[in-house]
Amino acid sequence: MAEVNALGHKESKEVATPETTWGGTYYAPRVDILETDEELTFYCDLPGVRPEDLDLRFEKDELVIHGKVRPRYPEGKFWLEEYGTGDFYRAFTIYEEVDPDRISAELKRGVLVIHLPKREEVKPKRIAIRAE
């Protein structure tokens, strides 16, 4: 399990709780994070975000996800309103040594997958054992 958590996070709110900041409502997207020997992989639910409306940054060990959601409802009232919509925002501090030049990401069907490959020197190396 994740006894040693390589990742910090600075969002103070619960996941998917709207947060009012400068004028708009922001939602923290739900995220899965997998760490392998090779890389850190983020899976991020961003329903309603088009690839051209996604701003993804990695700066000073900080991964920032900001997805803009275009308004999609007409004026008027809802019969039923079980969820709110607004932009998605979440930031993570990455303590692992990742190679910023090799970071890649794809956004498909509202799911963002981010690959953060580890630097060669921090990858675990298999040590060959010689038999007598």
Partner: protein, 151 residues
């Protein structure tokens, strides 16, 4: 505006019923599942928004990662909408999960629409992880414009 006022008693009742249903859903969610490390999908999933215009009733749900082929959508009895599907668990046998917040599993959601719709005229689209179902209102409930003659 007068149109909306006319429907108000029904709307209130309908909202009440849906709220009750949501509360039940939440109760099941709380006691039924959730023993695993990951959030499991249950009766209240997906959350749905419903709105209307003169011609159509629209239902929308956020279903990131799914294809339309993974979903079953049907309208029964004129006003019962059901959305069924399965969000697969991520397939990996290596590595360590640091966070697992995205729910997975089979889900089914049924809800009562505010007005009857024509089951033959239902369109579903899934774009950027958002499902939109557009349902044509039954002919008899569509508001009719009454021509007013002037002298």
């Amino acid at each position: 505006m007068t149109m909306l006022a006319r429907w108000e008693p029904f709307e209130k009742l309908w909202r009440e019923m849906n709220r009750f249903q949501r509360e039940m859903d939440r109760m099941f969610e709380r006691f039924g599942v959730g023993l695993g490390a990951r959030p499991l999908l249950s009766v209240g999933y997906p959350a749905v928004n419903v709105w209307e215009d003169d011609e159509y009733v629209y239902a929308e749900a956020e279903l990131p990662g799914l294809n339309l082929e993974d979903l079953e959508i049907y309208v029964t009895g004129g006003d019962q909408l059901t959305i069924k599907g399965n969000r697969p668990a991520p397939a990996t046998d290596k590595g360590v999960w640091h966070r697992q917040e995205r729910p997975f599993g089979a889900f089914q959601r049924s809800l009562t629409l505010p007005v009857p719709v024509d089951p033959e005229k239902v369109e579903a689209r899934l774009e950027h992880g958002v499902l939109t179902i557009k349902m044509a209102k039954s002919q008899e409930v569509k508001p009719r414009r009454i021509p007013v003659k002037t002298d």
